[in-house]
C-alpha cells in the first residue's frame, strides 16, 4: 500500500508541476460552459419592432401589449401605412414589422380566425427565425388566454405548437455534453498520455523492473486524473446551476454516483488505450479518433441520434457517452431516481469491467 501511496504522490507532483496542463484542464471546462452558455444561446432580447395596427380594437391593443411586455420585443414605431414600414426598416433599424388587419377582434369573434402579417428583416436569417418563433409563442399564449376568457374558441393564424423555451433547451443539451467531453479528455486522454510518456522515456521499464505490482502503477496513474476530472465536473455543474440557472431536479448524490461511474468507464478506456499505444502521439491519436470524435458525433450531444442511419445508431450504443448523457439528463432535468436509470449505470459498469479486464491482461504480459 505504501507503494501505491508513493505512486499517487508522484503523479500528483507531475500534475502540480506541469502548470500549463493543469491550468488548461481546470480552465477549459469553465471556458466551454461560458462559451456555450453565452454565445451559443439563441436568446434575443428587446428586438426593435414596428406595429401597424389597422384595427385599433381592444384585442389588437391587448396583443400589442403582450408583445411589448414580453421582454423580447420593443415596439419602437407605430407606422400608419405600409410605406412607412419600409421607412422604419431603413431608419429605425427594426427587425420585424407586424401588421394587424382591420376588424381583428371581429374576425376572431365571428370567424374564429384572424390573420397577422409579419414582415421580417431576413438579412440575418437566424435572428429572423428566432424572432418568428418568439412571436408565434406569444400569439399562442395570447390566444390561449383569449379562449379562457371567452365562451368560444378562436385561432390566430401562424400559430404553431412550439414549446416556448428555446434558450433553456440549449442549456439542457450542452451541460451534459461538456461534462462528457471533459471527463473523457481528463480521465482517458490525460492518463493514457502520461502512461505512454512513461513508456517513451523509459521510466516504465524502471518501474516494471521493481517488484511493485503493476496494478498499483495503473491505479496510481488513473486515480489522480479521476479526481481532477471530478473537480472539473463539479465546476461545470456549479456554473450551469448558478450562472445559467440550470435545475438539478434529481438527487445530487445520484448525480455524483453517475459521474463517478462514468469516470471509471472513461478511465478504463484510457487504460486500454495506453495498453495498446507505445508513444504519446499514438495515445493522443487513438483517444481522439477512437473515443473523442465518436463521443462528439455519436452521443446525441450535437447531432440528434434519431435522424442517423441505423448503422450509426448501433455504433453509438458501443460508446459510453450516449448512455451517460441520457442518464445525466434524466437526473438533472426529469429528476429521475436510481431505479429509473439503473439500466444505464449497469451498461457503464459493464463496459468498464470489460475494458479493465482487457487492459490488465495486456499490461501484465511480458514478451
Amino acid at each position: 500500500m505504501k507503494e501505491l501511496r508513493m505512486i499517487l504522490y508522484k503523479e500528483l507532483i507531475h500534475i502540480v508541476r506541469d502548470k500549463i496542463t493543469l491550468f488548461l484542464v481546470l480552465a477549459i471546462p469553465i471556458m466551454l460552459v461560458l462559451l456555450f452558455g453565452f454565445t451559443i444561446s439563441t436568446e434575443i432580447r428587446n428586438a426593435k419592432v414596428a406595429v401597424l395596427d389597422q384595427s385599433k380594437d381592444s384585442q389588437s391593443v391587448a396583443l400589442i401589449d403582450k408583445i411589448s411586455s414580453s421582454g423580447y420585443f420593443q415596439v419602437v414605431a407605430y407606422p400608419e401605412t405600409e410605406s412607412e414600414i419600409d421607412r422604419d426598416f431603413k431608419e429605425m433599424d427594426i427587425k420585424l414589422a407586424i401588421i394587424i388587419p382591420s376588424e381583428f377582434e371581429h374576425s376572431l369573434e365571428k370567424e374564429k380566425i384572424a390573420t397577422l402579417q409579419i414582415i421580417n428583416d431576413v438579412s440575418d436569417l437566424n435572428v429572423a427565425s428566432v424572432l418568428n418563433n418568439y412571436l408565434q409563442a406569444i400569439t399562442h399564449d395570447f390566444i390561449t388566454e383569449y379562449n379562457h376568457k371567452g365562451s368560444e374558441s378562436g385561432t390566430v393564424e401562424m400559430v404553431t405548437n412550439m414549446r416556448y423555451n428555446p434558450e433553456m433547451n440549449s442549456v439542457y443539451m450542452f451541460v451534459p455534453g461538456i461534462i462528457t467531453l471533459i471527463m473523457i479528455i481528463v480521465t482517458a486522454l490525460m492518463s493514457s498520455i502520461t502512461l505512454a510518456r512513461e513508456k517513451e522515456t523509459g521510466t516504465m521499464n524502471m518501474l516494471l523492473i521493481t517488484p511493485v505490482k503493476k496494478v498499483y502503477v495503473i491505479i496510481g496513474k488513473v486515480i489522480p486524473y479521476m479526481c481532477l476530472s471530478l473537480i472539473s465536473t463539479a465546476m461545470i455543474i456549479l456554473i450551469s446551476v448558478f450562472v445559467f440557472k440550470m435545475p438539478v431536479n434529481g438527487s445530487i448524490w445520484l448525480l455524483l454516483l453517475l459521474c463517478i461511474i462514468f469516470m471509471f468507464t472513461a478511465a478504463s478506456f484510457g487504460m486500454m488505450i495506453s495498453a495498446i499505444s507505445k508513444t504519446q502521439i499514438d495515445a493522443m491519436m487513438v483517444t481522439m479518433m477512437g473515443l473523442f470524435l465518436p463521443t462528439v458525433l455519436l452521443s446525441g450531444f450535437l447531432f440528434p441520434l434519431d435522424n442517423m442511419p441505423m448503422f450509426f445508431q448501433v455504433l453509438a450504443d458501443v460508446f459510453p457517452a450516449k448512455w451517460f448523457i441520457i442518464a445525466i439528463k434524466d437526473v438533472m432535468i426529469k429528476g429521475s431516481g436510481f431505479f429509473d436509470i439503473w439500466k444505464y449505470l449497469g451498461i457503464l459498469i459493464l463496459m468498464a469491467i470489460v475494458l479493465i479486464t482487457i487492459s490488465l491482461t495486456n499490461v501484465d504480459k511480458r514478451k
Binding site: K10, I13, H14, R17, R366
Partner: protein, 304 residues
C-alpha cells in the same frame, strides 16, 4: 554456482534474429562487459536478464532463480541502469530517490552505505528537478536509484555513451568501487577502449557471441603482427595497397599507418618495406605496437 548462468538463449523479433544461441556465465563479484556495436543484441540480452523480456528458448538463471518463473524475486535483487535517462525529469533529485526506494519497499536511509560516495556529490542539487541536472550528474542520480535497494547484481546498459572521457573515467572508478562492495556488475558498451576496464568481456556481433575472455587474453591471442609507420599521403598509399600481395589488415591512424601482417614477420616486414620503396614512398620507422581491443574485435569478426 555462477551468479548469472545463460544457456542457449535465442530471441527473434519477426524476421530479425536478435540473439542466437547465447551462452555466458558471470561469476559473483566480477565486472563483466558486453562489448559490441549498436544493434548487436546487447539491449535485448539486457532486457532478458532484467526480466523485462522473455527469451524464445533457452535457460537463464540469476542467483539460481529462473528469469521466466521467479522474476519477482529476481527484481528485488537486481539494479538496472537503462541506456537512456529514465528518471522523472520533473521530480527533484531527492524525490526520485525516495520514489524508487519505496518501489523496492525500502527507504533511502536504510541503504545509504552503498550509495554514500555518489550521494555526497549529488547533495548540493538535492532539490533540483532531475531534468535540469548536467549529463554526468543525471547518470550519478540514476546510479543511486539503481542501487537504492542494495542489489546483488547491477546491470548497466551503455552507461557511458555520449559522455566525455573525463566523466567516463570517473564513472568507471565508481563502478570499481561498487564492485568492491560485493556487487556483481554487468555493463554493456560500444566503446572498445572501455573493455579493458572489465574483468572479462563478451564480444557480441549480430546476435552472436564471438569471444568471451579477459581483455588481456583477448589481446595476447591477437594472431596478426601489428605495426605502425608514420608517413605523408596515407590515402595515396591506401589506394596502392591492393597491389601488396601478402595477407594483411591496414587502416589509417591520423598521421600514421597501421598494418597487421598475417605471415611471418621475417618475411612480411621486408616485403612491406620493399613495397614502400618500390612506390617511392617516404616513411618513418616501422614499429611494432600492441593491438587494442578494437583490433582484436575486427580480427575476430573477420574470422567468424
Amino acid at each position: 554456482m555462477p551468479e548469472i548462468d545463460i544457456q542457449h538463449i535465442n530471441k527473434r523479433f519477426g524476421k530479425i534474429e536478435a540473439l542466437h544461441d547465447i551462452n555466458i556465465m558471470v561469476e559473483q563479484g566480477e565486472v563483466f562487459g558486453l562489448v559490441g556495436p549498436d544493434g548487436a543484441g546487447k539491449s535485448t540480452l539486457f532486457n532478458i536478464l532484467t526480466t523485462l523480456l522473455l527469451p524464445d528458448s533457452g535457460q537463464v538463471d540469476i542467483m539460481g532463480m529462473d528469469v521466466v518463473k521467479d522474476y519477482l524475486q529476481i527484481r528485488q535483487s537486481i539494479g538496472y541502469l537503462p541506456g537512456v535517462f529514465s528518471l522523472y525529469p520533473d521530480l527533484s533529485v531527492q524525490e526520485n530517490l525516495a520514489f524508487f526506494a519505496t518501489m523496492y519497499k525500502s527507504s533511502v536511509l536504510d541503504n545509504m552505505s552503498l550509495i554514500k560516495p555518489i550521494w555526497k556529490q549529488l547533495l548540493p542539487f538535492k532539490d533540483r528537478p532531475a531534468g535540469k541536472l548536467s549529463g554526468g550528474m543525471k547518470q550519478k542520480l540514476a546510479l543511486c536509484c539503481a542501487l537504492i535497494h542494495k542489489p546483488k547484481i547491477l546491470f548497466l546498459d551503455e552507461p557511458t555513451t555520449g559522455v566525455d572521457p573525463v566523466s567516463r573515467k570517473e564513472f568507471w572508478d565508481i563502478l570499481k568501487d561498487i564492485q568492491h562492495k560485493n556487487v556483481t556488475v554487468v555493463v554493456s558498451t560500444p566503446y572498445m577502449d572501455e573493455a579493458t576496464r572489465c574483468d572479462r568481456i563478451a564480444l557480441i556481433q549480430n546476435g552472436n557471441i564471438i569471444k568471451i575472455d579477459t581483455p588481456n587474453n583477448i589481446i595476447s591471442n591477437f594472431r596478426g603482427h601489428l605495426y605502425t609507420v608514420k608517413m605523408d599521403d596515407i590515402f595515396g598509399l591506401m589506394q596502392l595497397m591492393n597491389q601488396f600481395e601478402l595477407t594483411c589488415n591496414y587502416y589509417p591512424y591520423g598521421e600514421h599507418f597501421h598494418i597487421a601482417f598475417y605471415d611471418e614477420v621475417e618475411k612480411a616486414l621486408p616485403a612491406f618495406e620493399r613495397f614502400l620503396q618500390d612506390h617511392g614512398r617516404q616513411y618513418g620507422e616501422i614499429k611494432p605496437i600492441t593491438p587494442n581491443i578494437e583490433d582484436c574485435f575486427i580480427e575476430l569478426m573477420q574470422m567468424s
